[in-house]
């Protein structure tokens, strides 16, 4: 049932999106003001990761996009050179 499959994917995306948003917002905007001894802090990794993980993902993502772009452009350049000869 393609309809159910689509709805399942949609529900998963929705859940991931809301979870990531709330978790990250609390991590960066709320946790710095919570004392170091409170048990809530145990739910969140150290602040260093709050910066490191998104930066890492962004770098990987941008590299992937540019890599794919250059790959496609090189291939089309090769094809044009082949056609010209």
């Amino acid at each position: 049932m393609a309809q159910l499959n689509d709805k399942a994917v949609g529900a998963v995306l929705l859940a991931i999106g809301t979870f990531v948003f709330t978790y990250y917002s609390i991590w960066t905007l709320v946790i710095p003001f919570v004392d170091v001894e409170q048990p809530v802090r145990k739910l969140f990794p150290p602040q260093w990761f709050a910066i490191a993980i998104p930066v890492f993902l962004l770098v990987v993502g941008v590299t992937g996009i540019f890599g794919f772009l250059s790959f496609v452009m090189l291939q089309s350049g090769k094809k044009a050179a082949k056609k010209a000869t």
Partner: protein
């Protein structure tokens, strides 16, 4: 002003305010300036990504499948194929 220009201007203004905060010209408490303020562009990027996910997911969930339109379309495709076949066009 096009929409792209509006968004670009908004982004530039936000970047300017953020820079002011980073170099210390805004009255921020020490904890905010050291720990929260530098992370704000990342918060914006992550929120944008999460918003995209939520938007796509929600629309996938509420998208109504229209069986009547599906049958009608299949019928029209069949009629078109018969029509073309009658005119000696090679369709599957």
């Amino acid at each position: 002003m096009t929409r792209a220009q509006k968004i670009g201007a908004g982004l530039a203004a936000a970047a300017g305010v953020w820079m002011l905060g980073m170099i210390g010209l805004l009255p921020l408490s020490e904890k905010v300036r050291a720990e929260v303020w530098p992370a704000l562009p990342l918060v914006a990027a992550v929120s944008l990504g999460a918003y995209a996910f939520v938007n796509i997911g929600y629309n996938l969930l509420v998208f109504r499948e229209c069986p009547e339109a599906y049958y009608e379309l299949m019928q029209e495709i069949q009629e078109a194929k018969d029509d073309l076949r009658a005119k000696n066009v090679d369709v599957s």
